[in-house]
C-alpha cells in the first residue's frame, strides 16, 4: 500500500555491481517506502536476481559503485548475517537443502539470532514450538516438516512455502522474493501469495522479482519496474505488468529508445 509520507526503508542510488569481473548492474536507482510492494520484472539476464543477491550481500557479487541505504544505514558496510538480523530477508529462487539439520532447529537458531540482535531473550525449544506452530498455519504446512532436514526431499512447492514460513518467523522489514512463483502450480502459488499478503503490513516492504504477470494477480504491487541491462528502464503501476504480458519486453525497449531520441 502507498502511504503518504511513510519512511524510506530502502534507497538505492546509481548502483553498479559485477560478478567475476562482468558488470551486471549498471546504475540502478530505486526507492522503497514502508508499506509498499514493488515488483521488478524483466527478461532473463537483466540483473534482477543479481540485484537481490547484492542486497543480501552474497560474497560472489562485488559492488563497484553507488550506494544502498537501508533504514538510514549504509547497507554495504554490513556482513550478510548482520543485514539479515537488521531486517533484510531474501526468499531464495532455489532454496538449498541442508542434510542433517532439522528444519525446527534451523528455524529456532535463525529466530533467536534475530531476537538477540534486538536485545530480546532467546526462546527455548518449548516456547519456540508454540511460536512456530502458529506460523505454520500461514503457509498451510504440516508439522511433519519441522522434524525433517531443511528442504531435504521437499517438493518445489514445499521449499517455497518453507521460505515463506521463515519470512513469517523473522518478520523482516524488507522482504525480497526472488522468483518465488517459479515452478509452483496454481494451488501452491495461491498458498504462497496468501502467506505473503497476510504478512504484508504498513511497517514492512516487499520486493517481488518475477518473470510473469501471474503472481501479480495474487499479490498486487504498488509499483512495477521493468529492468533491462542492469538498470530500471521504466516504472508504472500494476497495469504496466498487464501491458508487458500482452506486448512483451521489446515494447518497453522501443519506448525507452523513443524517449531517448525525444530527449
Amino acid at each position: 500500500m502507498i502511504i503518504e509520507n511513510s519512511d524510506v526503508v530502502l534507497s538505492v542510488c546509481d548502483l553498479t555491481a559485477e560478478v567475476d569481473g562482468i558488470p551486471i548492474l549498471n546504475g540502478l536507482n530505486l526507492e522503497v517506502r514502508a508499506g509498499e510492494i514493488h515488483a521488478i520484472m524483466g527478461p532473463n539476464g537483466s540483473g534482477k536476481s543479481t540485484f537481490s543477491k547484492v542486497l543480501a550481500g552474497h560474497p560472489d557479487y562485488q559492488v563497484t559503485g553507488g550506494e544502498i541505504v537501508f533504514q538510514g544505514q549504509n547497507l554495504l558496510e554490513l556482513e550478510p548475517e548482520e543485514r539479515a538480523r537488521s531486517g533484510i530477508f531474501l526468499a531464495f529462487q532455489y532454496p538449498l537443502e541442508i542434510p542433517g539439520v532439522s528444519n525446527l532447529d534451523f528455524l529456532r537458531v535463525a529466530y533467536n539470532s534475530r531476537r538477540r540482535h534486538h536485545g530480546l531473550e532467546e526462546l527455548d525449544a518449548f516456547d519456540f514450538d508454540e511460536v512456530v506452530r502458529e506460523k505454520l498455519e500461514i503457509v498451510k504446512m504440516d508439522d511433519r516438516f519441522l522434524g525433517r532436514s531443511v528442504n531435504e526431499g521437499f517438493s518445489g512447492g514445499e521449499k517455497k512455502r518453507n521460505e515463506i514460513l521463515q519470512m513469517a518467523l523473522l518478520e523482516p522489514k524488507l522482504a525480497i522474493l526472488d522468483e518465488t512463483d517459479s515452478g509452483l502450480d496454481i494451488d501452491a502459488l495461491k498458498i504462497v501469495a496468501n502467506g505473503v499478503n497476510h504478512l504484508s503490513n504498513p511497517d514492512n516492504s516487499i520486493i517481488l522479482i518475477t518473470h510473469y504477470q501471474r503472481l501479480l494477480n495474487y499479490i498486487v504491487p504498488d509499483y512495477v519496474h521493468v529492468m533491462e541491462g542492469g538498470r530500471i528502464l521504466t516504472t508504472g503501476d500494476k497495469k504496466l505488468a498487464l501491458e508487458l504480458e500482452e506486448r512483451g519486453y521489446d515494447w518497453v525497449r522501443q519506448e525507452d529508445a523513443t524517449e531517448v531520441v525525444a530527449r
Binding site: P80, E81, L96, I98, G100, V101, D105, V109, A110, Q166
Partner: protein
C-alpha cells in the same frame, strides 16, 4: 613376558614399514625415539588426591575433567603420562564386583596368568610392523577384566598423554569380558605442542566371551601439528576385538580429531555364532592432517552381523581416507554387513577417499555398502547467513547433523564434548 618381547623384537627387525596407506611422512628414525619416559613422580597411587597437583592442573587445562566431575558422573579413570600409569580411580569399588581395572604393568605382577593367557591372542606379535614394535617395547596401558555375568557398574576410562618431546608412547590395552558380562570403556588422548613428530604406536586387544558385550569409545585429540603441518603425533595404532563367544558383541566408536597422521583400523573378528561387530567413526582432518582410518569386519561364525558407519570430514589441505574390509568366511552362513561411508568436504583444497574391500566366500551372506560425498560450500553458508546465522554456527550445525549417527553411540557427556571439539577444530576453516 621377556620372551614375548624378544619374539616381537626379532620379528620386527625382519619387517618393513607398511607403505600402502594414503599418507606421506618422512622416514622415522627408530633409534632416536625414547622408548620409556616417566613423569618425575613414579610412586603408584591409589587415589587422585595423592597425584602431583601440577599433573592434575595439566589435565584441567586440557579440559579433561579428571577429578570431581568424573567422580560425580561415575566414571573410573586410569591416567597415563608418557610411559607410566599415574593413577587409577575407583579400584576398590570396582573390586567389590570382581572387576579388575588397573595399569597393565600392575596386572602383569598381580594377575600374570590372566594377562599372559590373553595378551597377543587377538593381535599376534608379528601382526604388523607397528604392533610388533609395540609388543617389543610397550610400557604401560590399561587392563580390564570383567567376571562372569557382571555388568561393570561404571564407565571405565583411560586418559593418555605424551608429555616428553622426543618420547614415543607405546601403550597396550587389554580388555577381557567373561561370559554374560558387559563393560563400556572410554579412551581419551592429548599431547602438548612440539615441533617434532612423536610416535604413538598402541595396541588394544578386546576379548568377548559368550554373550559378553564390550563397548569401546575413543575421543582422540593428539596434537595435530600447526597450520603449516609442522609437528604433531604419528598415530599408528592396532585395535582389534575378538568376539569369541556366541552372541557376543563388540562395538567401536571413535572420534578422531587430532594427530598429524592417523593410521588406525579398529576391527572385529566375529568367531562366535550370532556375534555382532559395530564400528562408528567420525574422523576430522584440517590443515595438513592426514588420516587413513576404517575398520575390518571378519565374519567367521554363523549368522554374524556387522555395521559400519563412517563419517569423514576434511577441511583445509587435509587428506581423509576411509579404508575398510568386510570379509565373509566360507562357514559364515547367513552373515550380514551394512556399511555406510559418508564424506564431507569443507572448502576447495581438502581430499576425501573411500577404499572399501569386500571379500565374500559364502553365498548366503548379505553385504550392503553405501557411500556419499557432500560439501559445505559458500552457497550453504550464505543461506544460513541470510537467516542471520554466523558461519561458525552454520558449520557446527551441519557437522553435528552429519555426525549424529555416531555421536548417538557415545555416552552422553562425551557426545557433548565431541561435538564441541569438532567445532573448535574447524574454527576459522571457512572464509
Amino acid at each position: 613376558m621377556l620372551n614375548f618381547r624378544l619374539r616381537a623384537y626379532r620379528q620386527w627387525l625382519k619387517m618393513e614399514e607398511p607403505k600402502w596407506a594414503e599418507v606421506g611422512y618422512p622416514t622415522i628414525d627408530y633409534q632416536s625415539i625414547i622408548y620409556y619416559s616417566a613423569p618425575k613422580q613414579t610412586k603408584k597411587l591409589s587415589s587422585l588426591e595423592e597425584v602431583d597437583p601440577t599433573l592434575l592442573d595439566t589435565f584441567e587445562k586440557l579440559g579433561i575433567p579428571l577429578s570431581e566431575q568424573k567422580r560425580l558422573s561415575n566414571v573410573a579413570v586410569d591416567a597415563i603420562f608418557d610411559s607410566v600409569s599415574v593413577a587409577t580411580t575407583f579400584k576398590e569399588k570396582l573390586a567389590e564386583q570382581g572387576v579388575i581395572f588397573c595399569s597393565i604393568s600392575e596386572a602383569l605382577q598381580k594377575y600374570p596368568d590372566l594377562v599372559e593367557r590373553y595378551i597377543g591372542s587377538v593381535v599376534p606379535v608379528g601382526d604388523n610392523y607397528f604392533a610388533a614394535l609395540n609388543s617389543a617395547v610397550f610400557s604401560d596401558g590399561s587392563f580390564v577384566y570383567v567376571p562372569k555375568n557382571t555388568r561393570c557398574p561404571m564407565e571405565l576410562s583411560t586418559y593418555f598423554r605424551i608429555n616428553n618431546g622426543e618420547s614415543g608412547q607405546f601403550e597396550r590395552t587389554l580388555i577381557i569380558a567373561e561370559e554374560g558380562s558387559h563393560v563400556s570403556y572410554l579412551e581419551g588422548c592429548t599431547a602438548p605442542m612440539f615441533d617434532t613428530n612423536q610416535l604413538h604406536a598402541a595396541v588394544v586387544e578386546l576379548v568377548a566371551l559368550d554373550r559378553a558385550e564390550i563397548k569401546y569409545s575413543t575421543v582422540q585429540n593428539w596434537y595435530a601439528g600447526d597450520e603449516n603441518g609442522k609437528g604433531g603425533i604419528y598415530n599408528f595404532v592396532t585395535k582389534r576385538g575378538l568376539c569369541q563367544g556366541i552372541n557376543s558383541k563388540i562395538s567401536w566408536t571413535q572420534v578422531e580429531t587430532g594427530s598429524a597422521i592417523t593410521w588406525k583400523y579398529p576391527s572385529c573378528v566375529l568367531v562366535g555364532d550370532h556375534s555382532v561387530g559395530e564400528f562408528y567413526s567420525v574422523a576430522l582432518t584440517n590443515h595438513h592432517q592426514q588420516a587413513d582410518t576404517g575398520t575390518k569386519m571378519v565374519h567367521i561364525g554363523k549368522n554374524t552381523r556387522s555395521t559400519i558407519i563412517s563419517k569423514g570430514i576434511s577441511a583445509g589441505k587435509s587428506e581423509n581416507s576411509y579404508r575398510g574390509l568386510v570379509k565373509i568366511g566360507p562357514k559364515a552362513d547367513g552373515a550380514r554387513n551394512y556399511s555406510q561411508c559418508d564424506s564431507m568436504l569443507i572448502g576447495d583444497s581438502a581430499g576425501a577417499n573411500t577404499f572399501p574391500y569386500i571379500q565374500v566366500q559364502n553365498h548366503t551372506a548379505r553385504v550392503e555398502h553405501e557411500a556419499s560425498t557432500s560439501k559445505i560450500g559458500e552457497d550453504q553458508l550464505f543461506f544460513f547467513a541470510q537467516r542471520g546465522i554466523s558461519a561458525e554456527d552454520a558449520i557446527s550445525m551441519m557437522i553435528s547433523g552429519f555426525c549424529k549417527d555416531v555421536f548417538n553411540q557415545l555416552p552422553m557427556e562425551f557426545a557433548v564434548e565431541a561435538d564441541r571439539l569438532l567445532s573448535l577444530k574447524l574454527e576459522g576453516s571457512v572464509g
